[in-house]
């Protein structure tokens, strides 16, 4: 749940990058970390295994500056994608203000994307949150791979984007689509706050 404080005029929002294993969630955060000016971000914390697979979560705090007189901060989290880490995924998802679903565009990972999306819905529901009430954007990562290996953004939209939310093609390793995605979710989350919806 976003924390809004009227006395100190601060807003803190929690954004969770969700998706199947190796879809590029950590890569998104690493790219953001590398490109955002040092005075606008904190340390990136990664709890990973030796094989660089996310064990618990990655975490990156960002300072968006002042919006309508409120110091606005975002906390970016990733979840571990592998299916057997569902307990930790649930923990990280607690209190999320918005979700970036990072799908792997490779055709052979299609089922993994669907399974992860369903898992997101189930985990949110368990916490009493209807995914339709939560700001969500989709990112179709690895669009840089050869065309015969990946599904197009349109095809993925058709298959995964039931709600017609914002979606972005991306190549997180080289940065294409990373900031567009972040900007998309930032807008959705902050607009929801501005509208006074229960956060």
């Amino acid at each position: 749940m976003s924390l809004v404080n009227f006395t100190t005029r601060e807003i803190t929002c929690k954004i969770v990058y969700y998706g199947p294993g190796r879809s590029g969630k950590t890569t998104n955060l690493q790219y953001i970390f590398g490109r955002v000016p040092e005075n606008r971000r904190g340390r990136m914390v990664s709890l990973a295994t030796h094989g660089d697979r996310t064990l618990f979560f990655d975490f990156l705090p960002l300072d968006l500056g002042s919006i309508s007189g409120f110091t606005t901060r975002f906390q970016l989290y990733t979840v571990p994608g592998q299916s057997y880490y569902n307990a930790t995924r649930k923990l990280v998802l607690q209190g999320a203000d918005g979700v970036v679903f990072v799908a792997d565009s490779q055709a052979r990972r299609f089922d993994d994307n669907l399974e992860s999306l369903q898992n997101l819905q189930e985990n949110l529901l368990e916490q009493g949150v209807d995914v339709r009430d939560l700001p969500v954007v989709l990112q179709y990562n690895k669009q840089d791979l050869p065309a015969d290996l990946v599904l197009s953004s349109d095809a993925l939209d058709e298959a995964l984007n039931f709600r017609g939310v914002q979606s972005f093609g991306a190549d997180a390793l080289h940065g294409s689509g990373v900031f567009e995605t972040l900007k998309g979710i930032s807008e959705s989350v902050l607009r929801r706050l501005a509208a006074g919806a229960p956060a």
């Binding site: 914390v45 975490f59 705090p61 968006l64 901060r73 923990l91 900007k183 930032s186």
Partner: protein
């Protein structure tokens, strides 16, 4: 010391004075910072809060697997500094505390005054208020400007 809500201040000041803790962080169970003392960079505070809340959340889950109600506190005693992590229920939801202390005090003292702090916070916490719309009409323009400044596009 910095608190998001003024009612947290006096009990926390009392705790700091009595326990001689070096660093204190109060956060929601989702890792949102409520109060802090002893940090220099606000963004590092957020990382510490995320990690602390994560540890408490996972030990609570481990306790659940063992059919326990949860652990009162988790103490890590280092050679130079110690750390106490504890989750507790308040009228404002579940909160988590992270306390770092040095050799000028002891885990016994910190725990003693920590329990007192929790009792005081629970006693003085006002009920949760509903959130009003927070952002003004300039929101759209300022949001775009901020996002542009941060993301450069």
């Amino acid at each position: 010391m910095r608190t998001l809500e003024p009612w947290v201040g006096p009990p926390l000041e009392h705790f700091l004075a009595e326990s001689e803790a070096r660093v204190v962080l109060l956060m929601t169970s989702a890792g949102q910072v409520v109060a802090q003392h002893g940090f220099t960079r606000s963004l590092d505070v957020m990382a510490a809060a995320a990690l602390g809340a994560g540890i408490v959340a996972s030990t609570t889950e481990v306790a659940r697997l063992m059919d326990q109600r949860g652990f009162g506190a988790l103490v890590h005693q280092g050679s130079e500094q110690g750390m106490l992590l504890s989750g507790f229920d308040t009228p404002r939801g579940r909160w988590v505390g992270l306390v770092v202390f040095g050799s000028e005090t002891s885990v016994g003292l910190v725990q003693l005054f920590w329990d007192e702090l929790v009792r005081e916070l629970v006693a003085v916490a006002p009920p949760e208020t509903t959130q009003a719309p927070v952002l003004a009409e300039n929101f759209e323009r300022e949001l775009n400007a901020s996002l542009h400044a941060l993301f450069g596009r």
